[in-house]
Amino acid sequence: MTFCFGYPSDLHQAYAFYCARYQNITYKEFLKLRITEFMYKLSSIPESEPLYNIMKSRIINVNDIKNKDERKHWRKLQRDNKIPDIYLSKEEIMWELSKKVKEKL
């Protein structure tokens, strides 16, 4: 999962991104945005946005990074921005686990 609407930290980052890039609205108005419209905006998020790196850190394969310092940097980002397991379904947890195991092999 690259983004979780149920995780307050993600939701707040998404709100900040929306206000910075599109229009300054209240949080209440943000929650009332149509979901498809918002997903289109989220899928074209520019690299300059902090949320971009948060989402990237969740899908990046750190072992593919050759540079040691860069690898360390992304590992830290991965740890810091991990969506708590409590939000995930059993299937998603198992999928995350198998991904981790593959990375270690």
Binding site: F5, L31, L33, R34, P84, S89
Partner: protein
Amino acid sequence: MKYQFIQKDEDTTILKYQDKEYEIKRDVELVSKLQSVNKDARLSLYADLVKKGISKDNLVITTKKDGKTYVDNSYLDELEKQYIRDEQYNLFNELCRNYFNMSMEELVIDIGLNPDESQKFGTELGEAISGKGTPREKK
């Protein structure tokens, strides 16, 4: 047909029955609530376990046989599933009240559905609320 679900646009479905029409809108808040179900269920499970003075480990049975350790999580898994089902049901009822001003049961009675029809209706309503193409995150 006693009722009809009409897709108005990507994020809006209309429930039509008798002379009534209700709009089901899918917004950021709704998806946030749907994606919080697992968390809310697990938190209330923890809270209830704490109240009863037991920990999650008490529900896991560990046995040793032929030098191997076997862990049986089935009680915990079943209990967690039950809490998630309850939480989904509570959320569904809360959403029903928001959209239709009545609970799921009241809605079924209002439309005049029999038990077989109400099961099919429940599935269709679930799809209308969560949206078939709703942003379930890609793994």
